[in-house]
Structures are given as structure tokens and as C-alpha cells.
């Protein structure tokens, strides 16, 4: 997912640049609605990235012929400014060149055969200067772009290096454009022994701390990629456009690879439950939990991806609900509740309409339609015909309920601690929830689930970061200590395996109490994200 976000409604875009920004109008409209700014499609960002490459190429080529003040530069400069302002509201927009691939931020810019010439031209120009990336800040002005282009083509890269170019820019008063050194990527060498497709992932022989950092970085990226895919599709459904699951499919396949390697790290990310991004985070969380549960239920890898994809879009029906209802902080009216209860049906109808009945995965339809139904049909939608709830639906019910109840969200601000949620869910085993799947779910998240805040016998606070591996010692998970005995927070507290014993056969530490972190409004996700 890119760090780039569109501008706020208060940053009007230049009308002059309309012709090059074919989607700009719709983008501006969406932004004007305010609350949906975060939903802007990666797809659109990538499209804008391609426009950025194109306009940068025009600017450089024109600058080879004309001086910086020449009117011939007006149009490319104006277009570039529009793009930069659109893309760099929260962070500077960075066009990166890595191993011959162009990225907008960290999103790969996929090119078509028709765009090859333009891309090649930029790649070669950047390569000549050995530039790894160019970042444009939101304050970039016309004179900055003109100066940059002028120096870029005016200085000889054979006689000057990247630092010289950056210095020349600074001397010319251009501070909004920065050049990056090429990043050294960890390439897979020919003598590597890893053979699977995830071979670019951290290798086991790495330093453990570094390995953990990289694994977490990979997991977070995987999570973000999936969240971006949900954002894209939600926005697409709202806009009534067509939907493609290509991006989401890749994201889920990546998540499965990561989950197979380190389930705990991935599930740790499900503690991320911020309410303003609720729907996206919730969808990704439900997908991760469903994959973990599906994996334990015995789904083969490909089917697991299908299940994960289905789970990712189980709340697609909410795209049809007005955002002011979705984000309403107070109590719902009867009509608003009716609208909320309609989202499973809305979801199936939207997905079927947008994808066509023959292109819609069955599990996706089931996930949307059945995830609030409850095994005893006490949920919604209420059906007047007999209906056998599918396995996908039953998995989704558990994952959805667990994440929803443990989350803070706009219309029910108070989350419930994970262990309490499991307890509540078990009270409904066999009625609302499938009893076998629920048992598997507990095996998966642990009886003290990831994210649970605990007090240790040593008078320290800790959070559960991995469920206990040994079922007989289910109350002894792996925890991260977050305070000392005095309650002083620890920045990089140690990880404790509570099954560890001393020489005398005594446990080194134990949990004495589960702490309701929600009561204190303490978000434990900071220890996973």
C-alpha cells in the first residue's frame, strides 16, 4: 500500500490540468465527500503514478530543448504540479527505481507494452544519474520543477554525481525535491538453497532480532496490501464501477505465505482495531482469522486463499450504506438498524451485479450472505426457506464476531477483551456458532488470545504475543513484558515463554490476572504494529 493520500477537500486542483488527469474529477468528487479520502483506490494512485512518470518524461525532454522559463515548459510543469499536489498531501510523493522496476512509494507501477517507451526513457534517465528515487513534497512549486528539470538535463552525470545534483538543487533554493540513493535490495542469489516462491522472505539464518523485525515488516506490508485491496473494492462498489480481485488475490496469497511461516505475527496484527479505519481493518482481521481457522480445519492452500479472499470482502454490502450511518457515533434509529442488517444481502447483490454470477466465487457469496446468520438462524438475514449454512459462512461468523467484539468501533465504542469475547462466544456454542469450529478457533487464537493484557506473578504487566503451543499449558503463552515491577513502561521489553522452568522445576513466571485493557482504554496493538 502506498503511503500516499489524496488531498483534502480544501486543496482544489487546477482546472488547467484536467485533460491529463482523466480520473481527477472523480477523485476530487470523492475527496469532496470528506470521509472517504482514505478509501481512494490504490488503482487510482497507480494510475496517477503512471501519469507522473509520463509528465516527468515530458518535462525532462522539453527541458533538453528549452530553457527553464520557456513557455513550452508551462504545460508539463502545470501537469506535474497537479499530480504532485494530488499525491503528496500527507507525505512527499516518491517515484522510486528499484531493480529496473518503477514504484510509486512502495506500490509497483505496472506498465503496459504501450507505456514501455516512456517508462524506459525515465528509467534510463534515472539510471544515468544513479538515482534511486525522486521525492516531491506538497510544497513543490513551478520554479522548483523548472529548476530541477534544468539541472537534471544541464549537468553531466558523467562528471557529477547524485550529491552534486542534490547540492545544485539546494543552492538553487529547491528544497521540496529530494533525490534518493539507490536502495540495495536483498536479492536472491543463485546459490541460495531456498526454493519456494516466498524465498525473498527473511531467511532463517538471519540474526533473530533482525529476522523478527523483517518478519514483522513483511507481515505489516501483507496486512496493508490486503487493507488497500478492500479499500479499492469498497470505493469501486460505492462508485458503481467494475471490480477486479487481482490486487486482493495477490495480497491474500502473500498473507497465506506469511501466515504459514509465522501465524502469531500475522494474528498479532489483528489487534489493530482503529475505529476510523474500522471496516478495512476489520475486513483484513476477519480474513486473517478465517485463514487461520480454515487452516486448522484442513483447507488446502488454494482453497484457503479462496476463503481468505471471501472473508476480505464479507462486509462489501456496507459499501451501500451511507457513510454517515456507518460512522454514526450515537444510537441507530430503526431505519438505520434495518440498513445495517441489510448489508449481508446488499453484499451478495452488489457482488453478483458487479462480477456476474459466473465470475463470483461461491465462497465470497456465502461469506457475505451468511456471516450474520448464526448457526441456529437467529441472526440475519431471516429466510423464509430452509437454508443450510455453508462451512465458509460458519467460519466467518466466528471470525467476524470475535473481531467485531474485540474492536472499538464508532457505533459501539467499548471493545471487550479477547478472553472475555471467547467466553461469550462459548456460551453460544452450538446455537450461534458451530461448536467444532469454535473449538478449533480457541486452539488457534489460544484461550488467552493474542493481545490479551495480563499481570504476571512478578508484578509486571505483559501482553500475549503467541498462544501457548502446548494445550496442557494453555495458560502459559508467550508474552511480551511491557512494564517493570514498578509499572514503568519498557520500550523493548523481553519476551517470556511462560512454560519455561528454573532448575528446581518451578515456572519462571506465571499469569495471575487477566487485565481488562479496554476498561483502561489501553490499546495493546502498539506491541504488534
Amino acid at each position: 500500500m502506498s503511503e500516499l493520500k489524496p488531498p483534502s477537500a480544501g486543496a482544489p486542483l487546477s482546472d488547467d490540468a484536467q485533460p491529463i488527469l482523466t480520473h481527477e474529477k472523480s477523485l476530487a468528487n470523492k475527496i469532496a465527500k470528506g470521509s472517504e479520502a482514505g478509501d481512494i483506490l490504490d488503482q487510482q494512485l497507480v494510475m496517477l503514478g503512471i501519469q507522473l512518470v509520463t509528465q516527468l518524461n515530458v518535462l525532462i525532454k522539453t527541458s533538453r530543448i528549452h530553457g527553464r522559463t520557456n513557455a513550452a515548459l508551462d504545460k508539463p510543469v502545470e501537469s506535474m504540479l497537479t499530480l504532485v499536489r494530488t499525491l503528496s498531501v500527507d507525505h512527499p510523493v516518491v517515484l522510486r527505481l528499484q531493480n529496473d522496476f518503477l514504484f510509486l512509494g512502495d506500490s509497483h507501477l505496472k506498465m503496459s507494452a504501450q507505456q514501455m517507451a516512456v517508462f524506459s526513457s525515465i528509467i534510463e534517465a534515472l539510471n544515468r544519474w544513479k538515482i534511486g528515487g525522486v521525492s516531491f513534497a506538497s510544497g513543490t512549486e513551478s520554479k522548483d520543477l523548472r529548476e530541477f528539470a534544468n539541472l537534471f538535463v544541464g549537468l553531466d552525470p558523467d562528471k557529477h554525481n547524485l550529491a552534486d545534483l542534490q547540492k545544485a538543487l539546494t543552492d538553487a533554493g529547491v528544497t521540496s525535491i529530494e533525490l534518493e540513493e539507490p536502495r540495495v535490495l536483498q536479492l536472491k542469489h543463485a546459490n541460495d538453497t531456498e526454493s519456494d516462491s516466498a524465498s525473498a522472505l527473511p531467511k532463517k539464518e538471519d540474526d533473530p532480532a533482525e529476522l523478527a523485525r523483517k518478519q514483522r515488516a513483511c507481515a505489516k506490508n501483507g496486512y496493508a496490501q490486503a487493507a488497500a485491496a478492500v479499500g479499492d473494492l469498497t470505493q469501486s462498489v460505492r462508485a458503481g464501477g467494475t471490480i477486479s480481485f487481482k490486487q486482493a488475490k495477490r495480497a491474500i496469497q502473500n498473507v497465506i505465505e506469511l501466515m504459514m511461516r509465522d501465524e502469531a505475527t500475522m494474528l498479532g496484527l489483528t489487534t489493530l482495531r482503529c475505529h476510523d479505519q474500522y471496516t478495512h481493518n476489520h475486513s483484513v482481521n476477519v480474513s486473517l482469522l478465517s485463514i487461520a481457522l480454515g487452516n486448522r480445519a484442513g483447507y488446502p492452500k488454494v482453497e484457503l486463499a479462496d476463503l481468505g479472499l471471501a472473508a476480505l470482502f464479507h462486509d462489501m454490502g456496507k459499501s451501500s450504506i451511507a457513510t454517515d450511518v456507518l460512522n454514526k457515533p450515537g444510537e441507530f434509529t430503526e431505519d438505520e438498524w434495518a440498513a445495517m442488517r441489510s448489508h449481508p444481502t446488499q453484499g451478495v447483490l452488489d457482488l453478483t451485479k458487479l462480477r456476474g454470477i459466473t465470475n463470483l466465487p461461491g465462497r465470497m457469496a456465502a461469506a457475505s450472505f451468511e456471516h450474520h446468520m448464526n448457526c441456529d438462524h437467529s441472526g440475519y438475514p431471516k429466510l423464509s426457506v430452509p437454508w443450510k449454512i455453508s462451512l465458509t459462512g460458519r467460519i466467518l461468523m466466528i471470525a467476524d464476531c470475535y473481531d467485531a467484539m474485540t474492536s472499538s468501533r464508532v457505533y459501539r465504542r467499548e471493545p471487550i477483551p479477547p478472553a472475555k469475547v471467547l467466553n461469550m462466544m462459548f456460551a453460544k456454542s452450538g446455537t450461534s456458532f458451530d461448536p467444532i469450529l469454535l473449538k478449533l478457533f480457541v486452539n488457534c487464537v489460544g484461550i488467552l488470545p493474542i493481545g490479551t493484557l495480563v499481570m504476571l506473578e512478578s508484578n509486571r504487566l505483559a501482553v500475549v504475543i503467541r498462544p501457548a503451543q502446548d494445550k496442557e499449558n494453555a495458560e502459559r503463552p508467550l508474552v511480551r513484558v511491557i512494564t517493570d515491577e514498578e509499572g514503568s513502561p519498557l520500550d523493548q521489553g523481553p519476551e517470556l515463554d511462560l512454560t519455561e522452568q528454573d532448575e528446581g522445576g518451578m515456572y519462571k513466571d506465571s499469569i495471575v490476572r487477566l487485565v481488562d485493557n479496554t476498561e483502561y482504554r489501553f490499546d495493546t496493538s502498539r506491541y504488534y504494529v
Partner: protein
């Protein structure tokens, strides 16, 4: 790399390789040439073509040999190049990016591709299919085209296949694994869960106080742990150190082997489930249950798109059952409002839309061996207004079996709207017009005879013959002027058919209509069989009116074309004998006197024949 084998190979290739050249690189370059050749031929002729297949097998064989020797083969991918050992080993001649193997992978963000030992033909074939975006060959069954999942690219297809022998690394994976990138997941610091870590001390103090109070209250008499999460929440309060501890276990959450097996069966059933039917079941359940008017409106819109999709994919039997279910909508939902009833009616009306028939056409032409069960029902349910579109469908379908189904439908649907059929007779496509003629023949309605006569001008001779055949059924008597006109037809078989029809004795035609044809110089150049047929037809339609013409032939004399004139005279004598009327006998007698030797002889024979005929007829007449 196996150095001993490499040394062996070096000796074999030595004469062809420059000193210092890496033999592995040489081998890789040769392999890529083979791959390029295999790919080109597969694109040009199709993967199943014998030539393409041969190149593919050759590539696989060479690649296998290479992998046996070097264990694996890894390429780095750039825009339009493949690198091996930091050397360019593949680069298309031009910037033909669309056909470049390197660009195909590059554009999907693939940085690295590795083939491993043990690569089977199936694996390789799957990879090449994924590379070119073609469906998997073995999926093509019963002539049904295999569908390509539009959400897939090379990366997702290979992931799903989970091949050990072909692996990829994407550029994005490299970026991620290198630990670059913004921290995309930002912690929420505002909102409900806003307590900062600096307040943990207070939190701990409060928890300790609660714990102490609980301990005090229970007097250290806590019974200890429990196996369920609810009790776990309260466990650990007070008591001796181990009694203070939280005690919980997963006992009771064990999943038995039988339970896992039952899940496996369910997973398998879910995977094998017909997705389309399942979604239709979902939509049907919504139809039966939904109360919201807004959702019902949306549902009926979706049903429209469902019908489209079923038509597009040739799922006629499913379509048939959906239509039958929709027909019962009012019975299922008697509470439906008029707006929704109108929507249902529109669904059925929509079936008649030309776009739908275009979808049918597209599917059937794309799938020559398509299963057509249920299609007839759909077509038969169409309204008479659809006849022009159905005619269009009939005209554009390529497979006779498919045409037959449409024909069947038109036989019923077009009965009350036959104008488009009649108009279609002037279409230039012979197969289409012949189909329409078949339809008219089935109706066997004489009202179409006039229209049929117009089709006698069709450019295709077979069509004209067929028209004549049908005219013999629909209009076997009357004025034969139009048929006589066919003597000008370019095709002899048509002329003969027309003459045969006129010779049935049911048509009348004045000799004046025959005269322009039979008196023309070119008439003599026509085959004896045709001239005989024409005279026969003249005998039956014009009778004695033609006798003077034939008599003239008996005595005609010319310095030129004497042979042909004589042939004509002999044919005339023969036909006069067959006509056998007094006028004909008189003409023959005249010929017997004035004609040449051969003609005289022929006239005599004809008179004898006529007399014989007469004698045969007389007793019969007396007896009767």
C-alpha cells in the same frame, strides 16, 4: 554446478565455443532460442498444433538436460531482457514487447524466475499458459472453452499451482524483504483506546489494589483454576503462589479425528459445489424472504444480469430453471408490489432483446460442440417480435446443429410473423436462405409461393434449385411463365429442374414465352439433354402451339452448323411423335416429305411411335 559434467560437455562443445566462454551461458542462450521458437509457434498455430508441440517438447527435453546438469536455472528479469550470470541471454530483436517473454514477466512485477530439476512437461506447459494468459489445456472439455480467471496473472496462477519446480520472486517481495517502505500501519493514538503507556503505572497500581481486595475478601480461600475462559478471568486472585496463578487449559477444546474428517468432507463438498447454482440458490432465498422494497428492486436488477450471464455462458438448463422459478414469482411472493411485478415482466421481455440473442450467437459460434439442452425452450419462449433477431441468429450461426435448433424455434415463433422470413429469402447467404426455405417447406403454406418465386433470383444455384423443389409442392400448377424465364439461368441444373417441373403437365404457358429462348442461336449450343427437356416442357405447357416451331426445325436448311440443325430436327421429330396430336402428325408427315434423309427417317419412326401410342390408348379408352 556439476564441474565434471561441465568438463565433459566442454569437450563436446569445444569446437563451437570460443575459449573462455561459459558453457552454462551458452546452453542457456540455446534454451531461450528454443523457448522463443516454441512460444512463437504456439501463438501462431495454437499450442496443440503438431509443429508447436514438437518445439515445446524439444524445449522441455533440452531444459531437462540442462537442469540435470546444473540443478537449476535462474533468470533476472529486466524490461525486455533476461539476465543469467549478469549476462544478457535473451533480448528480442526489436522492442516487440507484446511478444517478449521478458516483458510479460516484467510487467507483472516478476524480478526473478527459477526452473528447478524435476520440471515436468505439465509444469512447463502450465507456466507457458500462465505466461501467455491462455487457459489450461486440460480444462477444455466437450468443446467448451476453458475460462480464464480475469483476476489472475502469472504470479497468482503459479502460486495457486504451488509448483516446486518453477519459482518466482517479485519486485515488491524484494522491496518488502529488504525492510524498505513506510510503516504503513500506524497506531491509532486518538479515539476511545487512547491511554498512553505512561499511565501503565496507574493501571498496574489499580490492578494490584483490586487483586489485594479480592484476596482479602476471599481470605485466601480461592479454589484455584478452572478450565473455561470465564472462570479464567477471575482466577488467580489470592491464595498461595501457585493457587494465585491463572489456571486454564485447552482441555475440553480438543477436536476429534472424526470431527476433523467431517470438516474435510465439507471442505471437499464446498470446493466441488457448482458456484453458479449456489449463488442462484442464494438469490432465490432472497427472493422468497426479503421484505425491503429497495433490496427487492436491486434483486430483480441482479436477476437481469444473472440471465445475461447464463446466456453468455450457454448455461441453458440453469437458465430454464431460473425462468421457471421467476415465472412462479407471484406464487412465491404474492405480496410483491406492482413495481416489482413490472420488473419481473421486464425480465421476461428482456429475453427478447437483440443483445441477448447476440450473446447466444457469440457463445454458440465460440463453442461448436456446445451442449444445447434447454436452448430450444428459451428460444421457444420468445415473442413474435423477436423473429427478426432470431432470423439474424439463424443467419449468423456457423454450426448446422445450432441452426437446426433456431429453425425449430422459428417454426413456432415466426408462424404469426413470417414477414422477416420472407424478407430473409432475398438474403445473399445461401445457407441462411436454404434454412428459411426448409422452414417454409415445413409450414407448407401456399401463401409463400409468390415470395418463393422471388427467391428464384438468388445468386446461389443450389438455393434456386431448392426454391424450384418447393414451388413444385406449393404451386404445382398454373402459369409457368416464371419457370420458363429460368431458361436464362446460368446454371444448367437449375434450368433442367425448372423444365422438369414444367413437364409435370400442370402448367400452361404460351409458346410466345418459349420462343425467345428456343429460337435463339445459342439454344443449339445447349446440351442434348437440356434441349430435350425444354421440348418436353414445351410439349406439356404449349402443346400444339409449338408445333409450327418444331415443323420449321424439320425442314430448316443451312450451310452452317448442319450437324446441330440436324440434331434439333431429330429432337423435334421425337417430341412431335410424343405429342401425337393431329397437328403434330401432320407436321411429321411434312417433315417426312421435305426433310433430309435422316430427318425423314426420324419422322417416320415418330409417326409409327405416335400411331402405336394412339392404338394403345384407344382400347384403353374403349374399355373405360
Amino acid at each position: 554446478m556439476d564441474s565434471s559434467k561441465s568438463a565433459d560437455e566442454r569437450s563436446v562443445l569445444q569446437p563451437f565455443v570460443r575459449e573462455g566462454t561459459d558453457l552454462e551461458v551458452v546452453s542457456v542462450k540455446q534454451l531461450l532460442k528454443l523457448l522463443d521458437k516454441a512460444a512463437k509457434s504456439a501463438r501462431t498455430y495454437g499450442a496443440s498444433n503438431p509443429v508447436a508441440r514438437r518445439f515445446f517438447l524439444q524445449f522441455h527435453e533440452e531444459l531437462t538436460k540442462h537442469l540435470e546438469q546444473y540443478a537449476r536455472l535462474t533468470f533476472l528479469i529486466q524490461r525486455n531482457q533476461l539476465f543469467f550470470k549478469e549476462e544478457v541471454v535473451y533480448q528480442p530483436d526489436s522492442d516487440a514487447t507484446g511478444e517478449s517473454i521478458a516483458f510479460k514477466m516484467y510487467s507483472d512485477g516478476i524480478r526473478e524466475l527459477t526452473f528447478h530439476q524435476g520440471l515436468t512437461q505439465d509444469d512447463l506447459s502450465f507456466f507457458l499458459d500462465a505466461l501467455w494468459g491462455t487457459p489450461v489445456t486440460q480444462e477444455e472439455k466437450d468443446g467448451e472453452p476453458a475460462s480464464i480467471d480475469e483476476d489472475d496473472d502469472i504470479v497468482t496462477r503459479l502460486w495457486a499451482k504451488s509448483l516446486d519446480t518453477i519459482t518466482l520472486v517479485t519486485a515488491e517481495e524484494l522491496v518488502r524483504s529488504s525492510g524498505f517502505g513506510m510503516d504503513v500501519l500506524e497506531l491509532q493514538t486518538q479515539g476511545f483506546m487512547n491511554m498512553s503507556v505512561s499511565s501503565l503505572r496507574d493501571l498496574l497500581d489499580r490492578e494490584r489494589a483490586i487483586l489485594a481486595r479480592e484476596r482479602e475478601r476471599k481470605g485466601g480461600a480461592n479454589e484455584g483454576g478452572t478450565s473455561d475462559p470465564a472462570s479464567a478471568q477471575n482466577a488467580g486472585a489470592g491464595g498461595a503462589p501457585n493457587q494465585r496463578r491463572l489456571q486454564a487449559s485447552l482441555v475440553g477444546y480438543e477436536v476429534s479425528q472424526e470431527e476433523l474428517e467431517a470438516l474435510a468432507v465439507e471442505i471437499q463438498a464446498e470446493t466441488g459445489r457448482d458456484t453458479t447454482l449456489y449463488i442462484i440458490d442464494v438469490l432465490t432465498a432472497i427472493l422468497a424472504s426479503e421484505r425491503s422494497a429497495h433490496l427487492l428492486t436491486k434483486l430483480f436488477e441482479v436477476w437481469g444480469s444473472v440471465l445475461d450471464a447464463l446466456v453468455r455462458n450457454g448455461q441453458w438448463t440453469v437458465l430454464e430453471s431460473v425462468l421457471s422459478m421467476l415465472q412462479d414469482t407471484e406464487a412465491i411472493r404474492p405480496d410483491l408490489g406492482s413495481e416489482h411485478k413490472q420488473q419481473v415482466a421486464l425480465l421476461f421481455d428482456g429475453l427478447n432483446r437483440p443483445e441477448r440473442l447476440k450473446l447466444i450467437e457469440h457463445y454458440l459460434n465460440r463453442t461448436p460442440k456446445a451442449k444445447t439442452e434447454g436452448l430450444a425452450t428459451l428460444l421457444l419462449s420468445m415473442k413474435k417480435e423477436t423473429v427478426p433477431s432470431l432470423c439474424g441468429l439463424l443467419a449468423n450461426l456457423e454450426t448446422p446443429a445450432h441452426q437446426a435448433i433456431v429453425l425449430e424455434a422459428l417454426q413456432t415463433v415466426a408462424k404469426e410473423n413470417a414477414d422477416p422470413i420472407v424478407k430473409g429469402l432475398s438474403d445473399k447467404r445461401p445457407a441462411y436462405v436454404k434454412n428459411l426455405l426448409t422452414l417454409i417447406a415445413r409450414w407448407n403454406d401456399p401463401r409463400f409461393a409468390d415470395s418463393l418465386e422471388k427467391a428464384l433470383r438468388h445468386p446461389d444455384a443450389a438455393v434456386r434449385r431448392e426454391v424450384l423443389r418447393q414451388l413444385s409442392q406449393l404451386r404445382p400448377s398454373g402459369n409457368g411463365a416464371k419457370l420458363v424465364g429460368l431458361l436464362a439461368d446460368f446454371d444448367e441444373t437449375v434450368r433442367l429442374t425448372a423444365m422438369k417441373l414444367l413437364a409435370n403437365g400442370q402448367y400452361q404457358t404460351s409458346f410466345s414465352l418459349w420462343a425467345p429462348f428456343v429460337t435463339a442461336e445459342e439454344f443449339q449450343d445447349r446440351s442434348p439433354a437440356e434441349r430435350r427437356a425444354v421440348f418436353q416442357a414445351m410439349k406439356h405447357t404449349a402443346g400444339d402451339e409449338a408445333v409450327p416451331f418444331w415443323q420449321g426445325l424439320l425442314t430448316e436448311w443451312s450451310w452452317t452448323q448442319r450437324k446441330k440443325k440436324e440434331e434439333m430436327a431429330l429432337l423435334a421429330a421425337d417430341i412431335l411423335g410424343k405429342l401425337g396430336t393431329p397437328a403434330a402428325i401432320a407436321a411429321l408427315e411434312f417433315g417426312q416429305k421435305k426433310g433430309g434423309g435422316t430427318v425423314r427417317q426420324a419422322c417416320g419412326a415418330a409417326i409409327s411411335s405416335a400411331n402405336r401410342q394412339q392404338r394403345l390408348k384407344t382400347p384403353q379408352a374403349a374399355n373405360s
